[in-house]
């Protein structure tokens, strides 16, 4: 089973504050899930390449043309805080 510290570290990496009760629950849940997928280790995949997509498409591109965004107001209206037409972020320095 993952240790308490390991689960807390996953919380840090994924930017989710976890409560004590959650740490305990996810320790158990992740153990169940990792146990479930363990059987994959036995599958012979010698010489196989991993698949990252199924379409077979390569470098699909569209013309690089600037288009006006006409929904600036709507986009900004979704943010909790804006200033002078920008998203407002907490000070990081």
């Amino acid at each position: 089973m993952l240790t308490r510290e390991e689960v807390l570290k996953l919380g840090k990496l994924s930017r989710i504050a976890l409560s004590e009760a959650e740490v305990e629950k996810f320790q158990k849940n992740l153990d169940t899930i990792l146990g479930y997928v363990d059987e994959l280790k036995k599958v012979d995949t010698e010489g196989l390449k991993e698949v990252n997509q199924v379409t077979g498409l390569i470098n699909v591109q569209r013309p690089d043309e600037a288009v006006a965004a006409e929904n600036r107001e709507e986009i900004l209206a979704q943010a909790p805080e804006t200033k002078d037409g920008y998203f407002k972020v907490k000070a990081i320095l």
Partner: protein, 497 residues
Amino acid sequence: MADLFEFIELTELRKLLDTKKVSSTELTKFFLQRIKDLDKDYNAYVTVTEQEALKDAKAADDYIASPGENPFLCGIPYASKDLFCTKGIRTTASSKILDNYLPPHDATVTKKLKEHKSVLLGKTNLDEFAHGSSTETSAYGPSKNPWDNSRIPGGSSGGSTAAVAAGLAPWATATETGGSIRQPASLCGLSGWKPTYGRVSRYGIIAMGSSLDSPGAVANSVEDLAHLAEIMSGQDVKDSTTGPVPVPAYSKQLSADMRGVKIGVPKEYFVEGMEDGVKQRVMEAIEEYRKMGARIQEVSLPNTKYGSLVYAIVCPSEVASNLMRYDGIRYGHSTKEGGSLLETYEKSRAEGFGDEAKRRILTGTYVLSAGYYDAYYKKAQKVRSLIINEFQEVFKRVDILACPSSPNVAIKLGGAKDNPLFGYIADQLNIPGSLAGLPALSIPCGFARPSDGDTPSMDGLPVGLQIIGPQWGEQQVFNAGYAYQQATDWHKKHPTV
């Protein structure tokens, strides 16, 4: 007039609208009234868009009154899974983190449906971010199965299937990542189409597993789905995974002639623990195809059993990555508690995400992290190639595959809730096809008694037949579904609501 429209097929609605036997406004009011009267029993909708619907219906009526042909969906109401962005209309993904989100744009599918002058009735419930197979992970409570509202409708598109099965919409959009259309369509007794990956644009649909996400539809017949597929499909500059493959006129090319069609029956899809009634109904459906002149042969797909295991790694990995965008800065829930930038992220996400979303994010973060990536993610993607190769081999010998959509009929609400593996196990018969990006249908093929206690439904509960086709093989899949629905009337059975 009442009772006439709730289970009507789209092809029929088109005729009624074109011949002015009914107006879009009348139809829209009819469905809005049913939602008001009945949705408290099913919780199919998260948001009902009454005002917008009546306005759109009026516009459609004006269009119909003007000379010229009407687009197929003109004036026809529909419901949209609350994962499709609808400009200016609340889109939640059934998550508290998007509780008040008003998208500044339409999904490509939403846009196409608007261009057809469809009428949006509302947004349907789903498992939070589509993570689940019962709608029980929704932040807005589970939807209920219209055949027996003590049971799950399936998921994640369970709000869409509950809405259509209860006659609260004539069709609905849905999405699949691994079974989220086929399984709920099966459990609610509907026809559901999971497209070839890349057939329908993902743009503007809240992302779950980007290498798997396939937007599709649920309706009352395969013929309706063929029409919808024509409208929803096609290459989109805003989604570089949509293929340049032309979109055939699926509905015009529908053929019920099954003579000589080679149907493979994969023996691994009749899994241990499958309900007997489900197996019997599916075998009877396959027998029906034999009577129609199809050539049935048993085939073997030995890596089927690894599908859900691969998915249990690949899906959370992609989820963890896709859900990083919810940061409490640009849109979505932002914590009211002050603090540093890091604390804002951590608290906004802790408050906004439900249990299953957190579980998948943590799982994905674990299997992608340094030291574990090769053992989990890379290994899973190698096994995925085994599954793809196996399908490619089998489609050299058969035209389509026929098998069950789900190992069981709808289970009781609550049965899924505390099992972190439920979604992976419930969808084990759908996931291998999803990993390979294949098109598929689930169509109703009869009823069976549940194995977990009785049901008040006199008929028992719906069983779904799954048809899987080769990549881009939508037409073969639709033809097989259409042929079955010409020969049987299971798709015309509806619950008493």
